[in-house]
């Protein structure tokens, strides 16, 4: 699990006292978070606690109102001011969504080649080569000419992973990547993620898969009503939680 190399590099995410409101709803409260290169951070917490909002701030899909946020050395400003930095960050940060969000009008291969071609300026042939290599790696090389609607959920999510990886991101965000899948397909997606973690990818993962979290995480963060209540290595958080809230959350999710 620990072939990580550059863990002592500068943090790739640096969040300080981040505050986020949806109207009058205070969703993130003074959140501090640092992610160092090569680290795998898993975020857990009850529904509505702000997990999605937190990771969506990292690539600017949600704006925040107060605090500091630096991703890959670039500063994101409060109130979502569209900036050059934001787009640069997005080219370096990949995201996998709960609902896959594949482009249904494009073939699997075109889903994967679109961004490298249009953003990185890769040639059709280059992009295709990369796409086929990545699709091979996530085990769907033979489906490249199909359309997303023709694939199973698990296959679609693996295409989504390949699509994000095609941009050669420095950081990958996952928002409940297996929550929309039938149980028998969860394993194949987790396997692909495990593989990625082993290769040293920096990852921030929101998941309800606790045994997976325990296995791949370097650090687990428990968030409750927009606040980070507890964080630490998975053994510490899962086996010896310090806070009562964490304990009651874990006892609810670990019993079934």
């Amino acid at each position: 699990m620990s072939e990580r190399t550059d863990k002592d590099g500068a943090p790739i995410v640096r969040m300080e006292k981040l505050n986020k409101h949806f109207g009058t709803l205070h969703v993130l409260k003074d959140v501090d978070l640092e992610v160092t290169p090569g680290e795998v951070v898993v975020i857990i917490g009850a529904s509505g606690s702000g997990k999605s909002t937190l990771i969506r701030c990292i690539n600017g899909l949600e704006e925040f109102q107060k605090g500091k946020l630096e991703v890959d050395g670039k500063r994101l400003e409060p109130h979502g001011k569209a900036s050059k930095a934001l787009q640069q960050i997005r080219t370096e940060v990949g995201m996998v969504f709960q609902q896959f969000n594949l482009f249904p009008h494009l073939s699997v291969r075109d889903n994967v080649t679109l961004a490298p071609r249009k953003v990185r300026g890769a040639s059709r042939a280059e992009a295709r080569e990369t796409a086929d290599r990545l699709l091979e790696r996530v085990g769907i090389a033979n489906q490249a000419d199909k359309y997303p609607g023709q694939l199973s959920g698990g296959q679609q999510q693996r295409v989504a992973l390949a699509r994000a990886l095609a941009m050669e991101p420095r950081l990958m965000l996952f928002d409940e990547p297996t929550s929309a899948l039938d149980p028998e397909m969860i394993g194949e997606v987790l396997d692909a993620m495990r593989e990625l973690a082993r290769e040293g990818m920096t990852m921030v993962i929101v998941t309800h898969e606790m045994s997976f979290a325990r296995e791949v995480a370097d650090r687990v963060i428990y968030i409750h009503e927009g606040e980070i209540v507890e964080e630490g290595p998975p053994e510490a958080v899962f086996d010896n939680p310090q806070r009562e809230r964490t304990r009651s959350f874990l006892s609810r999710v670990l019993t079934h």
């Binding site: 370096e92 990949g94 969000n101 009008h105 679109l114 961004a115 249009k118 953003v119």
Partner: protein, 223 residues
Amino acid sequence: MNSSFDFDWEAAFQSIPHLLAGIPYTLLISFAGLAIGFVIGMIFGLLRLSRAPWLRWPAVAYIEIFRGTPVLVQVLFIFYGLPQILGGPIPALAAGIAAIAVNSGAYISEIVRGGVQSIERGQREAGLSLGLSRSQTFRYIIWPQGFRRMIPALGNQGIISIKDTSLFAVIGVGELVRQGQIYIATTFRALEVYLMVAILYLAITLTLSLLLRLLERKGLVGQ
């Protein structure tokens, strides 16, 4: 009572060559008008979606005005009214094309807005998260999907606009209805001629419906 009902098949058939002379005008007004209307609709439909009020408001005003007034009044205004402002006459054909353009443009604006809005938020987020710019996301992801969903409604609007051109007989454009009126003036066979006029409209609109049905079957439409 059956003395008044003697359908003259010969008169009906003889009217056809005369009526056919109107079809190029009907088609020209329809398709030129709709083509311009589509450009207008794309621009105003997107402006309508803008978050900036000074962009959105003119679009709302345009749509409401041209949807809320009859196309007949619009063409009369353009043909008889505008020359007073412009200081010179407007050809009837141009007035007809303009009326279809601004009228269908208002409806198509709403179709474009609906089509674009119907694309799930996740599509845009996926595009942006891959580093595509907002305009690239629109061009490669939102528009192609939205456009497919617009096609049935656009086809519908096409059929409505084709039929609307029949009103332009009043300004003397030599389209289908006008040709019918001219022929009736010399033959007095209103029943036969208007039946033939109706059949010719039906032939045009059914052809369009059929084309759309084919597109749909090929899976190029909808989703």
